[in-house]
Amino acid sequence: MKFFSRISTLLLFQLKLLLPLFFVSVLGKNPMCENKKYTLENSVDVTLHEDFRTPLAIVGIIFHTGSFDEQLSQKGITELIAANFISRETHIKLLELGVSYQVNVYGSHTEIIAKINLRNIKEFLQIICKNDFSPNDLEIMKKQMIINNNLAHSCFEDAVANEIFANISYKGCNISAAFNERILSSISLEDMREYFRQHYEKCRLSVIVSGAIGEKDLRQALQSTVNNLPSRQSHTASVCTNQIQKEIYIESKHIGRSVQYFYKIPSEDLVFAEAFFRIFHYELFNFFEKANQLISDYESFYVISSEDCIRQIVLCPKSDVSLATIRQMYDIFVERICKREIPTSIFLKIQQLKEFSNQFLLADLNAIYRKIKSDNLNGLNTEMSLKDSKLFNVLGKKFLKSNLILKIITRYKPDK
């Protein structure tokens, strides 16, 4: 009797372990949940999107420090750190676990992103947390960065990017992405270790998981691993001057003809800006159609500098359109946006397109991960729809007239 009692207890206990498999195989049809956010005791922010469609997960470990944090005297150090971030031993363990991963450096953050079978999430986190940052081959890494830079320089690929970064701010300070070989050569191993201690061990850390793991299991996995790391602290911001509006011409024949406008959007206005620019693009599209296809293409995206957002609008005029004409037409369009009464039907249409777009953003784990990361970094935790034409006009004046900070013009000669 005791034996049967033990067996039945054991069986019931084992059932608990099979429950996740049950979800994956049967309830996988639509087991998608809202994002769950919480903060661990050691200040690590966690965002989990439970998704049991496939037995894997995308895990992102994000350090809130990136190339924008570099002092001028240490330009390039974050790239060197990223190249050495994962030690050889850790790399071997991850390979053996069947994990594919990348280490990416951005302006405001550094990311380790991995695709993992759900059974290996805990082990992955343990391996990463025990990773020993022990940079080596420093001279080779520097030479590699110099080679990369020379290559990009020969193709003018960085020309526009350099101008952008030279003219936007991060935490109120001007930054530049310009590569400097002399500065790079002066960085030592000790500099890297010290920079790592200051910026990576003590910076805010976030973990984003999109995949087949429940909240309880993730908490358990994180508690036993991330607790090994020192406590997190925030950076203090430095203060600098504001920029003034500039206009820059780039003559490279390798970059197509374009006129680009850059608007600075303060972080507190980001949610409004999202809603505003959705309608802006729709109207831009229709405006240039009526102007007989002056442009062959246009696009817009934004550069995030963590505290400020830069919205970039790119117009690519046809070859027979002069610079004066495209500027004039765009100015007319901006005036119109700030005054025109937008019909309710347009607002409803934009809302519908946004709802479609949201569905695509949830199509697969990679897309979900990117959306969560973007929203977390931009502080876009809510969505807004604009339905008021007057508010739209007010936002137009604010974003398009007061906040234009830079124009870049490529392959046109300056107006006489």
Binding site: M1, F4, S5, S8, L11, L12, L15, L18, L21, F22, V24, S25, V26, K29, N30, R53, T54, P55, L56, I58, I86, H91, I92, L95, E96, G98, K115, N117, D137, I140, K143, Q144, I146, I147, N148, N150, L151, H153, S154, C155, K253, H254, G256, F285, N286, F288, E289, K318, K349, Q352, L353, F356, Q359, F360, L362, A363, D364, L365, N366, A367
Partner: protein, 431 residues
């Protein structure tokens, strides 16, 4: 007590059954199921649970730019740009707007290499309307001479990029050496002269002769039944012609008359590269079994792993810094492995010697134990499924590869081909 035991056993049996399904499902996470349909096209289901989104891919075999005749080299690129520009009498802007309204996203047309590939995401509950709207592009595309001229206008900047980037120059030269007198030896953009001569009639003729039921493969990824896919195929391709495909005039599938160049290496001079030199090594192997192809992937991923790859570690030991890019490219009738390295030009002599020594050593013998880790990784990755619907391309290729069956003997046989000097050509670029 017995009641407790009974309940436990019954629940264990049920959940155990699902566990079996799960594990079996895990092994079959990347199954590609053929779909029968009334119009006789090759259609496939790739089951992936999703919210309300499907990913569709239409591949017309041998309709890519590599199969254009030499006088119309670039025609596939132009057709690709024109195909979805105007649909059902709408202007280009109205067409774009309509596609968005119909829940079509990321419509993409890829014409490089062998095949003409159209792919897009669509909301499942709008699929019928979206496919009805798209179906005319395959049989009666709408465009005017003005549209054609408008598209051609973008072409010169495409070509400029081709000549601006060292990688493109290296690749074009390498291919011309690997495949002499053959379409595969041409670039994947076209030529200015050929594109300038393309007419509206050329575009219409291309569509008539290349968009055929028996040259098409249609893949649908998402939470979708085979019967639904069959309906989608019938909606999209019901009006396609069905006859034998017209072989391109250059007979792309006949490689017997395409030897490799006599010269084993070549040099390109390019300004503004400073102290950087690029070296691309290319290997052409026409016939490889699926097992050998799997072995080639294992060998390449192991030797060129960024942290533990033997080839790259050796370069570091010699204090040679590098920027590396490699790929194993499968074409319809041949395979190319290339390995591109950018180094400081002062290291070029050492690099050449090192490269020759290593390639000879690999050709003689490879130790399987060094490759076991990569083999296991590739086996695991081929089983665990998708994180991204668009991974379908990699999965379709990997699905047929027999990673788990690669043995020491297969590895060595493949290495003898991969590192055979006579299959290899090298191109250098620098200032």
């Amino acid at each position: 007590m017995s009641k407790k035991l009974t309940i436990a056993i019954v629940l264990a049996a049920i959940l155990g059954g699902f566990a079996v399904m799960f594990f079996r499902g895990e092994k079959q996470c990347v199954t590609i199921n053929p779909v029968a349909n009334n119009i006789g096209v090759k259609a496939y289901q790739i089951q992936m649970k999703s919210n309300n989104v499907l990913y569709m891919k239409c591949r017309f075999k041998n309709a890519g730019v590599l199969h254009n005749s030499s006088t119309k080299h670039g025609l596939s690129v132009i057709v690709g740009d024109l195909l979805c520009r105007k649909i059902n009498g709408l202007s280009p802007e109205e067409t774009t707007d309509k596609l968005r309204e119909l829940g079509v996203e990321k419509l993409s047309i890829l014409t490089v290499e062998d095949d003409f590939i159209i792919s897009f995401y669509v909301l499942k509950d709008k699929t019928d309307a979206a496919l009805q709207f798209l179906s005319p592009i395959f049989s009666r595309p709408e465009f005017s001479t003005n549209d054609l001229e408008f598209i051609k206008e973008k072409y010169p900047s495409l070509l400029e990029l081709e000549t601006a980037r060292p990688q493109e120059l290296l690749w074009d030269k390498l291919l011309s050496m690997l495949y002499q007198n053959h379409n595969y030896g041409r670039n994947n953009t076209g030529t200015a002269q050929a594109v300038a001569g393309i007419t509206a009639e050329d575009v219409r003729e291309f569509i008539k002769t290349h968009f055929l039921k028996n040259t098409l493969e249609f893949f649908v990824t998402g939470d979708v039944a085979c019967t639904e896919i069959a309906t989608y195929a019938e909606t999209l391709f019901g009006k396609l012609a069905e006859r034998h495909s017209v072989e391109s005039s250059d007979k792309a599938n006949d490689l017997s008359s395409s030897p490799m160049s006599e010269e084993k290496d070549a040099t390109i001079f390019k300004k503004n590269m400073g102290n950087v030199v690029g070296v691309i090594i290319g290997v052409r192997i026409d016939n490889l079994s699926e097992k050998e192809r799997a072995a080639a992937h294992i060998i390449i991923e192991t030797l060129f792993d960024s942290k533990i790859g033997d080839f790259l570690l050796g370069l570091r030991a010699k204090n040679i810094a590098y920027d590396v890019n490699y790929h194993f490219l499968r074409r319809n009738f041949s395979n190319v492995f290339y390995f591109l390295v950018y180094i400081d030009k002062n290291d070029l002599k050492n690099y050449k010697e090192y490269m020759e020594d290593k390639m000879s050593a690999y050709q003689k013998e490879l130790n399987l134990k060094d490759f076991r880790r990569t083999q296991n990784l590739l086996v695991m990755q081929s089983k665990i499924g998708f994180a991204d619907m668009a991974e379908i391309d990699k999965r379709i290729e990997y699905n047929s590869l027999l990673f788990a069956e690669v043995t020491q003997a297969v590895l060595n046989d493949t290495a003898r081909k991969l590192f055979n000097k006579s299959y290899r050509r090298v191109v250098y670029i620098g200032s």
